[in-house]
Structure formats: C-alpha cells, structure tokens
Symmetry: D3
Subunit: 264 residues, 6 copies
C-alpha cells in the first residue's frame, strides 16, 4: 500500500524558468532512462521477487524513484510555466502547449510516449540487478548532461540531488548482486559460468565460450583499427580470425563433453 | 562494409518441427533481448565510439550478433514450416501465417513489432558497456528458458551455442570496462564516484550519496519483511527511516562542500 | 513523497491458480484501462493542477490506484505461478514465461507494452475530470468482465473490491466536476456553452451549434435504421439532411454575430 | 457504404500561410484527440452497437468527423505549403518535408504516428458514450488553444466551426446517455450503482463504495493542502485516514451482505 | 465531405460463426495491410495530390476502402459473436472480450494497435502510386490466405469480393502510373533514370548505377547458392565481386561527369 | 555469416558540419524508408525465400544496405559533432544530446523509434518484390530531398552515391519480378489475374474486377474535379456511378461463374 505526503523529497527552486530546458527535463520524467522507468522497473521486479531481502531493497528504491518522479515533474512544470502563460517556446514542443495545456505529460523531450518497452524485467534476480546497475549508470549520465545544459542554480541543485541518488542506488544494487556471489570482479575471477559471469543454471560450452571471433577487420579512414585488448589476448582465449571468411562453422556444441565440432 | 557468406555460423538441424516452439524462438529474433537488439546496440555504439580499441570490440561483437540473427531466424523458420504447409498452430499466431505466409518477421513471440526502444545507447562508453553486460545476461537467461522448453536435440544444440556466446561477450565487455578502470568490484572498493561506481565527470554529493532511504516498511501477508542487507548496514551508510513519514526533505545539495541541508 | 507499506490494500487469496486467467488479469495491470493508467493519469493531472482542493483529490485517488496496481499485480502473479513452475499455459503467452520468467510485466493480456498514449491529460481541470469519469466507467466494466470469467472465490472477492472502488472514484470525480459548476445535468439545463456543456473560454457559434447533421441514412440488412432520438428532435435543434448530398457547405462562422453563411 | 463529395464541410481560406502553425494543426489531424481518432472511435462503436437508435447517432457523428478530418487536413496543408516551396520551417518538422514532401500525414505536431491506442471502445454503450463526452471536451479545448495561437482570420473561422461542432456532439452524446437513464446528475441523485453512477450489472459493495481514502496528506511548499470537498464530506461518506499508515486492510468484500471485513 | 448509407457494399452472410476466424479477420480490419491502412493511405495522398485527375482516382479508391472497412468489420463482428455470448475463444484473444466486450477494434490478429507507421505517403505522386500497387498486391495475398483458412461459404464470398477489388485497384494505379509515363516495363526499356526507373529530378550517377555488388557469396547447407539472373548479367551491368573483401571503396560520385573514383 | 571490414563503401567527407542537417539525415538511418528498413526487409525476405536465385539477390542487396546504414550513420554523426562539442542545435533534438550524448541512434528526424512496422514482408516472392520496388522509389526521393537541403559538397556526393544505388536496386528487383513473369507492363497486357496483375492462386471474380466505383464526385473549391483517365474509361471497364447513393450492393460473387448478383 502506498501513502503520499505533500512534501517533495527535494525542495525545488527555480530562478528563471526556461521552457526549452523544461522540455529537456521531460527526458527524466517520461523518457527511456527516466524516473518512471526506474520506479516501474524496480517495483515490478519487487512484486515478482522471491528473495525477501532483495524484495525489500527493490521496493525501497522503487518507491524512492516515485518520489523522484514527483520532483522532476514539479521542476519541469515550473520551467514550462512561461509556455503556458505566453506561449514562449510553444513551437519547440507544440504537444506540451496544444495538447497538454502547458503541463507535464509522460513523454520524453521529443514527445515520444513512455512505453514499458523501456523496462528490463526478466524475473531472474541477478540478471535484473545487473540491468538495474546499468540503468542507474544511464540515469546518472543523463542527469549530468542536464546539469551541463542548465544555468539556473536552483535547478542544478535539484538535479545534483537526483544524480547523486543514482550512484547510491548503483552501489546498493551492486552490493545486492554481491550478496548473491555474482558481483566481485577481478581480472583473476573472470571465469565463464562462475561468479560475475554466471547466469542461470545451464553452463556454457567450454570450448566455444573461450573463442573470440574477429568479425570486423581492416583499417578505416578515421583511424579505425583491428586491434587487441584484454578481451582477445591471453592464454584462455582462442582468437578465430574472420570466421565468415575462413569457412569456420560450428556443427555441434556439446555442453557435457565440452567438445566442439567445426566444419570447413 | 559488410560481406555475407552463405554459411550459418552454427549448422542448424531440426528433427521434428514444432510451430509453437518456432513462435517462442521469435523472442530471440525480433524480441526485446534478441539478436537484432544485440547487433544494433553494439554496432551503433561502435559507430559512435571514439576509443578505437573498444570500437573494434563493439564492431566484432555487433557483427557476430548479425550472424546469430541469421541462425535463430533460420531455426525459427524451420520450426514454423508445418504452419506454412498445413496451418498447424496458425490460430496461435495468426500474424505469422496470415500476414507473413509462414515465414519469420521482426516481431517477438506475441507479435509485437521490434522497436529501437529496446536499445540502450548513451554515447558514454563505460555506461554503454554496463548496459551491454546486462543485455548479455538477459539474452543468456532467455536462451536457457528456450532450451528448457525444447525437446528437439538439434535445436537444443543451436541454442546452447548461441547461449554460450552470450557468456563470451559478457566476459569481453567486462574486460573492456575493466580496461577503463571501472569494472573491478570488491567489497572494499565500492566507493561512490570511484571505479565501478564512477560515471561521467560530476561527483555525487558526499552526504547524500551515503543515505539509504527506507521507503518500504512493515510486514506482508506472504512473508514480505523490512530487513537489512549489506546495502543498508555498515559504517559508511546512514539509514533514513521512512523519509516521507518523518518529514525528511532535502533543501540544498552542494557538491562542493558536501553539505546537505535538511528541513523538517 | 511516497511511502510504501508491505500490506496489500486487499488481502489476496487464490484457491486454484489459473495461468490463463492470470494472463487476462494483466489487462488491469498493464492494459489501456488498468491501474497504472489510472495511477498515472490522476497523479500527473495532480502535479499540473492549480486548484488546491482538486489537486488533493487527484493525489488521493492517484495514490490509491498505485495500491490497486500492487493488488492486481500480486493477484496476477499468483495465477501465473503454475506457468513458472511447469510451463502450464506458456504457449498462450510465451512473453510471460520466456521473456519474463513467469512474472508479471507492464503489458496487457495480449503482450502489448503499456504506453502513455493510453492517458488523457489536458491540463484543463474540468476536461480532465470528465476524462476521469469515463476512465472509471471503463475500468468498472473491465473488472466486471473479469469477474464473469473467474471461478475462484478469492479472486472474485479481490476483483469485487477493486471494481467497487471505481464507482467510488466515479462519484468523487463527478462531485468535483459539480464543484466547478459543470456536472449537473438535467434535460432542462443542456445549453451549449453553459454548465455541463461548457469547456474553456470561447463560446460555440450559436447557429451552427444547434445543427444536427444526418450524415448516415438508409436502412441496413441487420436492422440498421435512420431514426430519431432526443439528440435530433426538439425546438432547439435544426436537422440538416444529408449535408454532403444536399450541397450544404459552411462559409463563415462568426462567434460574435451568431450568423452562419451557407453556400449551395 | 460511404460516398465522398468534393466539397469541404467548411470552406477553408488562408491569408498568410504559417508552416509552424500548420505543424501545430496536425495535432487535430493525426493527434490523440484529433479528427481521425473521433471518426474511428464513433464509427467502430457504431459497428459494434446493438441499440439501433444509438447506432444511427454514432454513425452520423462518426461520418461527420471524417468530413472534419478532411477540413483540418486541407487547412494544415495550406499552411505547410511554404515549407514545400522553399523549405521554410523545415528544421522544425523535418519529417513533413523530408519524408512527406511537404504534405500532411497521420502524425501529431511532434511527428508521433497515429495509433489506435488513442481510442476508447469498450462495447458497453453507456461506457462508450461517457468516453465520447470526454473526448469531445478534449477536442474542444484543443481547438480553443489552436485558435489562441492563430493570427489568420480565415483559419480562425474554420477552427471556430470545428470547435463549435464538438459542443454539438457533446450535447448529443449526453442526450443519448440520458436516453439510457444514466446522464441526469444532481447532487441528490449521486447514488453508487444507480443512474449516472451505474455501469454494467454487478453492483458495488455497499460498505466499501462509501469509503474515501485520504491517501495524500500534509502540506506542500507551493500551497498544497490536505483539504475537504463534497467528495470527502457528508453523511454518506466514511473517510479512512491514511489507510496505508493506519494498518487498514480489507480482507473480504461481500457484494451480497454488504459487509466489509477489515484487518489491523 | 462524406456521406454514409446504411448498406454494406457487399451483403455479409455467415453460416457458422467461428471466433478464431473472426480474430484472424482483424488482420484486414486493423492490420498492417488492412482496409483502414488502404483507406487512409489513398485518401491522405489524395488530400496532398496536386494532379487533379489522380486526386480524383485516389479519393475514389480511398472512399471505396472505407466501405470495405465496414464490410470486413461487420464480418469479423459476426464471427466474434459467440465469444461475446459465451466466452468461446476468449483465451485466444482476451483483448477482444475483456477490453472490447466482444466487438471489433482497430488492432490486428495479435492485438497490436493500428499505427500510421503502416502507411507509405511521400507526396511524390509516382512514388505513391508504386507504393499503392505494392499495397494492393499485399492485400490481395492476405485475403487469399484468409479464404484458404475459411470454411464458411458466405464468408468466402465476401472475402472473394474484397480480394477481387484489390486487383481492380492494382490495375487502376498501374494505369495512373502509366499516364505519368512511368509504368511501361519491358526488358528493353529498363534504363536507369528513365520511365519505370525514373523517380524525382536528380539523375543517378551513370557509372555507379550499373554496378551490381555481389555482397553475399558461397553455398549454404540448404541449397543456398551464389548465382546469376538477369539482374547481374548483361552488357550494361558491371559485377563487383565481394566489394567489402576486395578493398572496393567509392571516393567520389559525380553526377555530371559520370565518373566514379574508386580506392583500394 | 557476416563479416565487417573497417572501410566505408563510400568515403565520407564533411566540410562544415551542420547539426540540423545531421538530424535530418537520421531519416535515412532510423526512419521509415531508411537503410535499416531496407537491410532488414530484404534480408528477412531472403531468409524466408525458397527461390534460390532470388534469395541470392535479396541477400546481396540486403547486405549492401547494411553497408549503406554504416555510411549514413557515419555521415550523420559527423554533422552532429558540433552538437556534442558545444550544444549547437541541442534544443532542436534534445534526444540526441541528452539521451544519446551527441551520437546517432535508431530513430528518425523527429526522434521516433525505428519499428519493424515499417517493413513489408509477406513471404510471397512476387508481392515482396513489388514492395521492394516501391521501397526503393521512396528511398530515392528521400535522398533527393536531403540533397536539395544540403550545402556541403562532400555530403552531397555521399548522398548522390546512396541515391544512385536505390535506382540500381529498383532495376534489379524489377528484373527479378520479370523473371517470374509478373513485371512486363504494357497497356495491352493489363489483364486482371495475369502477368503484372497476377498475385497468388485465386483468380479475381470476372465481372466485379472490371467495375470502377465512382465514389468521389462533384467539384471542389480548389479545382477538384470528377474526371476520367485510363483507369475509368475503355471497353473493359464498367463505371458504377456513386454506388452508395445508387443503391448498389453486391450480394454474391462467384469466382467460377463470373456472375455478380446486385441488389437495389
């Protein structure tokens, strides 16, 4: 059950409203990485979750994101007010003024309706936590870009608050993943099928999992190169050069024997 | 520039075609976590990427996913063939038979059109890599579920191959994130704004980033509890109990001084 | 600010889970007239609302709908459980089991993603209240149909509770509209531009507003007739017979003089 | 069967074309509350309708809206002409000029494709009529806003005509609802389950239907208050204060006995 | 201006209603190649069209498609009736029964909402006519598949009528394209930039337009071959073998000189 | 299997980047008639195709379009660079800068997400080829419009190359259709059900296929006329004047006897 208190989690103050910036803010209200997306992703994962500790975590943060939705919505509405009063910026986003009367609605900065296609909910707890860590990283960088475009000190403070909380949540989700034994990453522990590289019950096929396919080769006009990194070097990695061109084709992948049959 | 070779990356063999399973397979062809989503997410991140080593990695894997798209599409089509020949299963997915003539199309198992709303592309390399790690985890678990629903040995082998490659990619993206100094996670290094918890340039506000908001409390009828975990215990964490109810409200968040002003 | 309590607003009890019915229930979770649609429509209207009394009403009901979302989501998840455990009903909705691991997600009974295109938010208070009255009527009839398809007494009780609340809300929104002087309807008071037929500031053009265009004529094979009702009879109504065929065309509509110029 | 006459229902005259205003006009061509939405909502309700009198009404107005679609489309196209001729305003809406060659298409003012998710069709006549009354109110306010943004007298006249017709339709749908005994509203007749508050066959649960849940409390920084109105005062209403916080939970709702069981 | 007559263009008779087939029929009501798509594509092209003869053609056929929409909607509704009466087939398409009360709505056979993304409208008359010829071909084959799935003689007759009309329209659009000098095709007249291969004003670059890129090579497991046809043989065609692999890259394409600069 | 070479098919050179033009270019990257749409439409038709010669053609061109996607994406990104560096043009398309960090993403010039609803894939080879011919014509005219809006010589050259290739493909698809005996069009060979007017197996009903319905009549204010063309004149055509108004209604359409029964 939910209860609403008529206080914003962060007191919003706007010096000079800027409808164009208000429009940009909608990216975090009804956009792909915005607060409704966060609130719904975590809360619905929470409804599905059968680990009671993580369920509590998901509901805590899911509920906090609802409070963030209210903060960003209020902030956007304050910036859009001149559009309502005198049509300032209306041509930029006619949807807001003509269809919405100058108020906020659940769309992004380009008027695209919010859709649950934005959400990543698999019902597999560790997978969902990884999706949440990535979601928080995305939300963090979007807030940073909004701050970079913002001149109003009061708005910047509110955005700084919201941005900070994303890092808080990123940490909490990482700790939850760690509590499942799937977060600790060190160059030494990157073993396919174990720890941070473990998902579900079925193990990856041993031979195939170690192959790196060099599917993009050559050099480009703007400095593109075919190069190496930790991902395609090292004793545990077999590089397959240009598999399409070399006639490489896998015929049988047996998870039990670990044998791979190739065909030329 | 792309070149296509008329060989599948994995030789597909289907014993007994099952149109209902063919329909399920579309989840990985035109679905939210499927192969087109993977191919497009990585390839477009690659076009935008200015780190030449990671660009190479993104194009390698993006191209491999195109080859996977071809494998899963061919596998689905083989399973759908009886629907084309005698209408078997047509009522289950009339879109396939009536609109598509029994062939595959870019929709998921419920006929929803593929949309780029599925993709997570931010133009911030480390953020994109985190999104990719999560995307691979999702694809892995979806393949596992398809294997669990599958009776045909040949189909299982193809799915096992594709599933295995997700783990390979998950490892490669983790190593790339590590090459940026943002992957190594240990209980000791979880410092907001540093390493694995660092995104962009603007640091989180010190005081606020350490607060855990206990926004969901009480006990539920099915065992829901208000509990603790590593995410809301420890010296570096301040738990704020039921912020909405306690009159908690942040008024000012200064990233420089690290001071937070609360109001009651 | 929001707070969540780990108690459902209505205690959910399911005797015999039925995944097919669980799938149907998603219509009220992530469907066009479901609880998220209600929660978002009223809460965002509330954020935009400048009448403090109605804002309170909108936030009260918007918050209650969030609690309903939790009830219906929990109920659907209990019915879907056998799909998760043994795949029962999986072919009916592969999206739930393959993509979602047997849990609920924000889509309707046919797997369509929830979209804010479902919402009706205009920023004009009396218009929004009329949209809300209609929304409650739609939700009521959908719950009634779900009850008619349901065999499980415990599920029926939960649905009866949720259905009842729609009538409560319908009454409250009607009273709010009445508090604006725009709800009271009697055959005597249906004057265009006044009371229940008043929207915004610009009055309708007197002559034109009284014309009824008989644009569909003749008799059909299944009893379709060209008939009369209160809407096209009475002293204050001018019926224009088959305007397209009679050469009727309006050339000038003057809101001040009330004169209409027609052209033949 | 339909027939088209090459006369507009309203003669469109544009003095000075304004592509930016032409773009705004698309809101009523291919937008959520526009003329195609109206035409389709009423005509399809008409196809489904089994009350022959109301079916006639729905087809009359549904057909008129098709004629309105033609008027608004022609008006928008005249305003967009300079974009076609010399690219004026093209950067504002590149979709129109690059994809559409300067003509109109079925999208709204922000380029969002028209979708039948905009429609409200339930197959329950009185519910559909309520949706139609609300739809006409929305269309009316959108036309009013377009008039407020418009400088061209000829365009204003056309919009005034179209706006006026929405009030005509609003009245007709209200009279139709009244003919079903569900429209007359007076403070005295607001009885849940009767007349204007009657939907479908299943009555609401007596005790529960009279409860008002005060789910949003406190005072906000911008004057938000927890207040009263006709909806939460009066002898027939039981106010439940902060149900989530007070441990309120409904366990059983019996439509027959009217008894509600609460649990603390 | 439109007028509606309460007669169907084709008298619909259904012997034994079949809700599953009714569901399939929705593909031509609210589906991608259905009657609303046809009606809207042609009518809106007509509104934009400045060639008065072709505008008349587009409005004639656009209006006829509205009459077809009414026929297919009525036919679908007759087949869906048992679902409304006794829930037969409801699990197959819960959207129809739960959300729509057993009536038709503007979605396809899988419940996807109709969207104007289905339409092809470019504002370039000959291009639009080509899109229309293709659209009619698609609609024809979809009707044929529906006939193949249909057991009811009366329904087959209605579908045969609608299918026949697609060929009529295909011919008319081809004749219209011919009246623009862009339809007549013979092996002799396939000259890029002329007649049937002429679009717009800018001519294609001579050298490049004659190159055929053999981008897919090799042999596949199911008989896929790298082969020849009229499209990559003949004196006027230069085949570029595996351009990506051969280092082929175009550096400059001059429409005036017809010279192409390649780079290795 | 696919391989990627780090060379663009056309060397992209941009003199003065123009973010607003970069935004327009997205129409051909993630837009309805853009390169991803082309690549996917042909490649998936190719996967479904059972004619090995046409399958090769579809894979050749499908793969080339992937290379075009890379060219247009790189070109758009070069034009968008100033938006990334200093926010130039950010208000025009906030989605690019705020959500995408200044890079390209799979949406069109108005920010609409790419959707497979853009694709036309029926699994009937000749129908698909007709759809492809029309698709190439649309892509050609869109490139021409982009060239007309472009001032930068280097960009124009790249667009000229891409535009030219559409004509090449249009010719190839026409030749493929001809190889099936369905392309040659001359005024003499337009026989319904034969050659260019042949689709599928079921012949059109003889009498009905020759009827032209004059469904739009009269004269309009802007020169609209009810006129004749090759499509409604000639011995083989029966014109039915205003069928809706004349009581025309088809009762029986027998494909065998060719008899049509009308009813008045």
């Amino acid at each position: 059950m939910y209860h609403h208190i008529k206080k914003l989690m962060f007191t919003v103050r706007v010096g000079t409203p800027d409808p164009r910036f208000g429009n940009m803010l909608l990216e975090q209200f009804g956009g792909a990485n915005g607060e409704l997306a966060a609130a719904m992703q975590y809360s619905i994962q929470g409804i599905n979750c059968e680990d009671m500790a993580c369920k509590d975590l998901l509901m805590d943060i899911g509920t906090e994101e609802l409070s963030h939705l209210e903060v960003i919505g209020t902030l956007a509405r304050m910036h859009l007010k001149p559009m309502k009063l005198n049509g300032d910026g209306a041509e930029q986003d006619p949807l807001i003024i003509i269809a919405g009367g100058g108020g906020v609605a659940l769309h992004n900065s380009m008027g695209n309706p919010w859709t649950s296609d934005y959400l990543k909910i698999t019902g597999e707890l560790d997978v969902d936590l990884r999706s949440n860590i990535a979601a928080e990283a995305r939300a963090k960088i979007v807030y940073e870009r909004l701050i970079d475009f913002c001149d109003d000190p009061g708005s910047k403070e509110a955005l700084q608050f919201l941005m900070t909380r994303e890092i808080t949540h990123m940490k909490a989700f990482t700790q939850a993943l760690d509590s499942l034994g799937k977060a600790v990453i060190s160059p030494a522990n990157l073993i396919p099928g174990k720890g941070a590289l473990s998902v579900g019950q079925i193990p990856p096929t041993p031979g195939i999992v170690s192959q790196y396919y060099n599917d993009s080769t050559g050099e480009g006009d703007q400095g593109e190169i075919d190069t190496t990194g930790p991902w395609n070097t090292g004793d545990d990695i077999t590089v397959v050069e240009s598999p399409a061109l070399s006639g490489f084709q896998v015929m049988k992948a047996s998870p039990k024997s670990g044998k791979t049959t190739l065909k030329k």
